[in-house]
Structures are given as structure tokens and as C-alpha cells.
Symmetry: C2
DNA sequence: TGAAAATCGTGACTTAGGTCACATTCATTT
DNA sequence: AAATGAATGTGACCTAAGTCACGATTTTCA
């Protein structure tokens, strides 16, 4: 149940066996079946989630009922609404399983305890958040400087297998266009090659 | 020269006098005059910068020569191209002073030293980056869910004084529209009230 | 102070992507 | 196996924002 978490931690930091055993006591294993929700908007995001296996997405729903995907959470990734997790305020995001998933949940108080008692975790999360910030800044600038087609191509470049695992309308809502636009774009790409 | 840095640190973490004195030795004070550059794209971003006084902006220039602003750096903020700073790769960003500014620069190796020798700084930067990530995620979702007008209103809501200090075409390139679009938008807002 | 450079406004036209509507295929459940 | 719902494709039309062009005003700095 903790294989992938252990692997990911050891890629980034050095922790002792005792520290890892302690960490394991703070996580809550959970299986989440496809199409089930881990978080619904309006509720506070009380867990940060590590994906041991499967695939999640976090997304908002706007006034017109359109979904906008903030993040796909693949194996080895962390998923949460950070703001709600840190403040306890109601979340504006939903988190849903795209595939049957094995998750490791940790509450805010356990997380605080982990950071306080195992300084290596403080560093681990700093690096994690840092990389996430870099990626999010890239994506933000991408929406300002590139076309929908370029963003689609970047996505399949960066995450080739996501196309196989995720329905197209979710890809569309991740790159920031409607499903119709992505559909047309793909048929143009297919014709042009 | 270190007044504002000290203030900002003490808002977030507890550090001893000795630790702060040590930290001070790692920073390089620099005055940067209006319109001068701290970083030009193509060069590696060798410093992370704390703004003691003044105003910076970081921005990219796309193929057509249009500028896109990632960040304004006001008093008490940190500015860098994180990716380039961490990896040493050439930066795709420029950092320029919008006003005459007093800066505190720190190199990667000094920064590493600071994080290793004063654990409170590890936490300080984790929290800083965390808040930046939350804000950047908000801005990203904003570009997908809101109109240019709403983004403009949010900006003047969040940073009322920025309108006075920054030329309009930079505001436009921050919210992700052309200067013409922002100009028209403003005259509509003025007419409608 | 006087010339050069920035900045801003605005009109005419173009365009990428959105909206709405309907049809088809594919998957899921009972 | 039938049926319901999810996912995709595609045509016709619309709209927010971009592009290009020109003038006017304001700053900057030599």
C-alpha cells in the first residue's frame, strides 16, 4: 500500500526507517472507485492525497456549468485544494476518480505533525510545491502565449499516456477550450499528416 | 537596508538574532534604476531577489515581440525565474525595474546554505512558495473562467495602487489582453458608471 | 528647452474559439 | 439484449478579443 510513496520520498530526501514507519501511521489508506468523489465544492478539503495507483482530477464548475480542470493526479502525485486544506475554508474544487484508485490521505493536523517532527518532510514538500509552481507558471504563460493547438501538442508531448486514459472533453477542459474546439482541432491535425 | 526583509521574516517564522545576522551576510544589496534589467532572457537567473523598496516586473517576450508579464514584484516580494535559478539553465524571462528599487540578491549556493543551516528558512520558503502556488493557480483558473473585464476588476481589487504605479499596457499584458483591448474596456467602464 | 520616445485612444477589419443544435457511436447497467 | 447515458463529430452562426493604422498627449533626457 505504501510502495509508491516510499519510492517517491526516496527520490527526493533521505529518511530513516523509523521516520518512514512513523509517517505511515499518519496516512489513511482509501480505495476510490471510478466516478466517485473525494471532495465536493462547498466542503472543506480536509485531506491532502497521495495517489498510489489510479487517476484523479481536480476541477471547478463555473456559473454556466462548464468544468475546468486544474490538475490530473496520476500515480505518485499529490492532489488537494491547497487553499482550503490550509485554511479550512470551503473549497471551490471537486476531486473525482477517473479510474479506480488507491489513495493515501493525510489530514492537516497529521501533516503539520509530520513537518514538525521530520524536517526532511518540510524539505520534501518545499521541493514538491516548488516544482508544481514552476509547472503552473508555465501553464499560465502558455495560456497567454500559445494557441489551443500548441497547448494540446505540449500536453501529449509531456504526458503521452494521458490521451489514452482520459476522455477528450476532459483534455479540452484542461487546455482551456471547449470539447467542440478540441474535436475540430484533432480532425485538422489528423488530416494534415 | 534589511528592514523590510526582517519584518517579512518575523511575520512568518521565529529566528534568533544570530541567525538573522548570519542571513544578512549572504545577501548582496543592489540598487537598480528604473528601466534597468536585473535579468535578460538567455542568461541564467543566478539570483533570487527580495524587493526592499521599489517595483520590478518579470516577463517573457513571444515570437511576435509581445510581452507577457508573469509577476509584479512589490516591496516585500521575492522575484526570480525559479526554474532557471534552480537548474542553472538559461532563462526565458526578463526582470526589469519599473521604479528605482532597492534589492537584496542571494545566489543559489548562498540560498542552499541558508536553508541547510537555518531550518526556519526552509519553512519560510515553503510557505512563501505555497502561497505563490495558490495565487498562480487562481490566476490560471481565472484565465479559463473569467472575462478580461473581470480579471481587470480583480486586479484593482487585490492591488489598488498598482494602477497608479504601472503603465496601462503592462496591466494589459498581466491580465492577458492587448493594450487596445484594455483601453476600450476602461472607456466602457468609465461610460457605464 | 526641445527632440525623441513612451503612452494612450480609437476606428475598421479579421480571427480563434465559443455556442447551439443534431446525429452517431460506444459503454454501462439491469 | 435492450436501454440509457456518456462521449464524440460536425455544420451554421456568433462574439470577444486581436490586428493594423493613425493621431494626440505625455515623459524623458540630452
Amino acid at each position: 500500500m505504501f510502495e509508491f510513496l516510499e519510492k517517491k520520498l526516496k527520490e527526493n530526501i533521505h529518511i530513516s526507517r523509523d521516520e518512514f514507519e512513523f509517517a505511515k501511521t499518519l496516512f489513511i489508506p482509501k480505495k476510490l472507485r471510478k466516478k466517485r468523489f473525494l471532495l465536493q465544492d462547498g466542503d472543506p478539503c480536509i485531506y491532502t492525497t497521495f495517489v498510489e495507483k489510479g487517476l484523479l482530477r481536480s476541477f471547478t464548475v463555473d456559473d454556466k456549468g462548464n468544468e475546468h480542470i486544474l490538475q490530473f493526479g496520476m500515480q505518485g502525485w499529490w492532489v488537494a485544494d491547497l487553499y482550503s486544506f490550509l485554511t479550512g475554508e470551503p473549497s471551490e474544487y471537486n476531486i473525482e476518480a477517473i479510474e479506480d484508485s488507491d489513495l493515501l490521505l493525510i489530514t492537516k493536523s497529521s501533516w503539520d505533525q509530520l513537518l514538525n517532527e521530520v524536517p526532511a518532510f518540510e524539505r520534501y514538500f518545499r521541493v514538491l510545491i516548488q516544482n508544481n509552481l514552476i509547472a503552473t507558471q508555465r501553464r499560465l504563460m502558455g495560456t497567454m502565449t500559445t494557441t489551443a493547438e500548441e497547448r494540446y501538442n505540449s500536453l501529449i508531448q509531456d504526458f503521452p499516456d494521458i490521451i489514452q486514459r482520459v476522455p477528450q472533453h476532459m483534455i479540452a477542459s484542461y487546455i482551456g477550450v471547449t470539447r467542440e474546439t478540441l474535436s475540430r482541432l484533432r480532425s485538422q491535425l489528423a488530416a494534415g499528416s
